[in-house]
Amino acid sequence: MILAGGRVDELGVLTHYRPKSAVPFGGFARVIDFPLSNLLHSGIERIAILSQYRSYSLINHIGTGAAWDMIGRNRGISILPPFKDYDNPHWYRGSADAVYQNLDYIQYYGPSVILILSGDHVYQMDYRRMIRYHHEHDADLTAAFIEVEPRAASRFGVAEIADDSEDGGRMLSYEEKPANPKGRWASLTVFCFRPAVLFEVLKKNQKGDSYEFGRDIIPMMMREQYKVHGYKFRGYWGYTRTIDEYWQTSMDLLGPDPKIDLEAWGIRTNLAHRNIADRQPVKIGPHGCLENSMAYNGCLIEGTVRNSILFPGVHVMAGAEINDSIIFFDNTVHAGVCLNRVVSDVNTVFNRDVRVGEPQCEKPSRVSVIGWNNSIPEGLHIGCGCRVAPRIAPEKWPKDKLEDGEELQ
């Protein structure tokens, strides 16, 4: 069960029209392609995606599931949107409620183990190892954790895990987003449940008024002395919860020996989505220049691109310069434009001589993000850390400058 419902406000303009799991990542893929590819390579072939916020982009992306080989007699991806029936009049009220409302789906297939994942993370993991661990320890719940600096742990669910083995151990304590974390293991929102136990705890949880795995289910299971294990994950884990995190995680795609190796990780995406498959190879003009960058088919590079990631169909005209940026599908960057630390959503046009960011801006929140379907007026200067909402009307643009950190709605 993939939890893909959330919008996550920090990603702001990138999630105005799509859930976070459908945010483009990695020059051609979407964030949810990471868990889906992991499932494919783990041989797990019956998948449900719980989706609530602006599902269309996600539904469109998943298609038939054929891209992940999830189409066949005993294989499939189902998207489970919220619904109404006799006794359930509401939306998904949280991750646990979303699964609870679809228990009939789970029971229909009668699985021996249920894996619950977040669709929001960038990582490679062989779930079979974790499931094997779960079975070997006869656990009711096995949750995956990664080691973090204690001071960075406050934003996560944090556990103390017994040092039973290299792979994991009994969970000794669990706190959801604690101000002063006791443990140093942060939850990855990857849960492996014994089905009967999952049914039981979700039912109990319905009596409360909060319905989250992290905040409610795990603490309840700890209180009630279920057999809860922590599985220690030691690979790369990329967060995309804020724009700065999204940018930083994207930068891990670059370099001669990138932390995120799409090829080695075996990432698949839906090549029919946004017609990726129909794009011709990257065309580089006589004066095009690319350095430490990634570009997918359909790009036309006549200008200069450094330390950047270009999705399909980005046109960089002669005399334009892009540094340290992530440019989504089908942007056009005209002559004289200079972009620094920009995340630009699909179909945006940077008209002549637009400048965004500064080459050496050291302010803490320095990435500027531009929403989709914008046409940024000629000569406009947008500062560092700015946010521009999608589809800004022509008359709403400032005369000549959007100051550092400003938002344009």
Binding site: E263, I267, Q280, P281, I284, G288, N292, M294, A295
Partner: protein, 422 residues
């Protein structure tokens, strides 16, 4: 929306295309990779799709496996669905032990059952080995408007080239009044593109008339011009028969060149993204610090650390540090190791050029290949699939390195002189 009814398409994809030498050693000409991530047949198939036609038979004969794998179920060109479809039509055993197709018309004749099983007013007969964009819907409307029995797609070519084509002389209504097949002395510059629209009824009659008529250009068309209504449908635009190494190379280079008139993406040419047995998709191309790339096409999955100029790279090609690739066409998953150089060459799939090796060495472009002087005479060298060029080797101009070659040296020396084969 289609204006002209649902004509049946028969695509002739059996040609050997032997002048493409190594490139057709393991595949039919229509299946030869082109333009980075396409195959030659993608142009015809996409034209069919973009014309709104939905029923296609592909007549294969020569080394069809690669072609069949590429076409698959036809979903890439939208040929899957209840009333649509693409069928591979190989030669079958008939009255005799084997009935190989003896010519274009004979191939169609042997598939009359397919034509009858797919009722249509018109049949479009195409070849699968040309690079062009064309709207067959417009051609069908033209054919219907002229009430023709046969309409032939024709274009103007330089008179010196007419000897390679069927040539037609037309009246001012575009009716073809005379025909010469591959004339030595040109009387016209109007050449047949091998694209025909037939009235289905007429096609069935004419094929039944004389079973010795095996070829459209040689037999069927000349007689039809004398006796029936044959019209020329004029085509203006980019069209290439990439039947020789030189024209194959030039046409690839045209995609890079400004204003050459060819643009696969604008033409809405659809490739079939090939997964093979790869469990992952091709990631975006990576351009590492210190690389230099200009005037080139670079497909997904490439990793460029060295220099690439004026070249077309298929998916997964690696150009290592200090390597220099110029004027080259490199197929999938080729590797050019550190400090190696490739100039004016076509490398088939998975070729490895060893450290410091040179493919295309020296300045003598005119010494033709000894074995195939008619295939390689302009300086282009060919390297076959999966060949390994030894570390530090020097391959000259107009050379051929065979499929799977992996010798440590060339007859004791690390040099393959101009015009030689290994």
């Amino acid at each position: 929306m289609r204006e002209s009814g649902d004509a049946l398409v028969l695509l002739l994809a059996g040609g050997i295309g032997s002048r493409l030498n190594l490139l057709v050693e393991h595949r039919a000409k229509p299946a030869v990779p082109f333009g980075g991530l396409y195959r030659i047949i993608d142009f015809s198939l996409s034209n069919v799709m973009n014309s709104g036609l939905t029923r296609v038979g592909v007549l294969t004969q020569y080394k069809p496996l690669s072609l069949m794998a590429h076409i698959g179920d036809g979903a890439a060109w939208d040929f899957t669905g209840r009333t649509r479809g693409i069928k591979i039509l190989p030669p079958r055993t008939g009255k005799k032990d084997s009935d190989w197709y003896k010519g274009t018309a004979d191939a169609i004749r042997q598939n009359i059952d397919f034509i009858l099983a797919n009722p249509s007013e018109q049949v479009v007969v195409l070849s699968g080995d040309h690079i062009y964009r064309m709207d067959f819907d417009a051609m069908l409307s033209y054919h219907q408007h002229k009430r023709a029995d046969i309409t032939i797609g024709m274009m103007v070519v330089p008179k010196c080239d007419i000897h390679q084509f069927g040539a037609g002389i037309i009246d001012n209504e575009n009716r073809v009044v005379e025909w010469e097949e591959k004339p030595k002395v040109p009387r016209t510059n109007l050449a047949s593109m091998g694209i025909y629209v037939f009235e289905t009824k007429y096609l069935l009659e004419t094929l039944a008339r004389d079973r010795r008529e095996n070829d459209f250009g040689m037999d069927i068309i000349p007689r039809a011009i004398r006796e029936d209504r044959v019209y020329a449908y004029p085509f203006y635009g980019y069209w290439r028969d990439v039947g020789t190494i030189q024209s194959y190379w030039e046409t690839n280079m045209d995609i890079i060149r400004e204003n050459s008139g060819i643009s696969p993406e604008e033409w809405e040419i659809r490739p079939n993204p090939e997964y093979g047995d790869r469990p992952m998709d091709r990631a975006p191309a990576r351009f590492l610090a210190g690389c230099k790339v200009a005037s080139s096409l670079i497909s997904a999955g490439c990793v460029i650390e060295g220099t690439v100029i004026n070249s077309v790279l298929s998916p997964g090609v690696r150009v290592k540090k200090g390597a220099v690739v110029t004027n080259a066409v490199i197929f999938d998953d080729g590797v050019v190791e550190e400090r190696a150089a490739v100039d004016l060459a076509i490398l088939d799939k998975r070729v490895q050029v060893g450290r410091g090796a040179v493919v295309g060495h020296g300045d003598n472009l005119t010494l033709a290949n000894q074995q195939y002087p008619k295939h390689l005479y302009t300086g282009i060298s060919l390297v076959g699939k999966e060949a390994i060029i030894p570390v530090g080797a020097q391959i000259g101009r107009n050379c051929i390195v065979q499929f799977g070659y992996s010798g440590d040296s060339f007859s004791g020396r690390n040099v393959l002189p101009d015009g030689q084969s290994a």
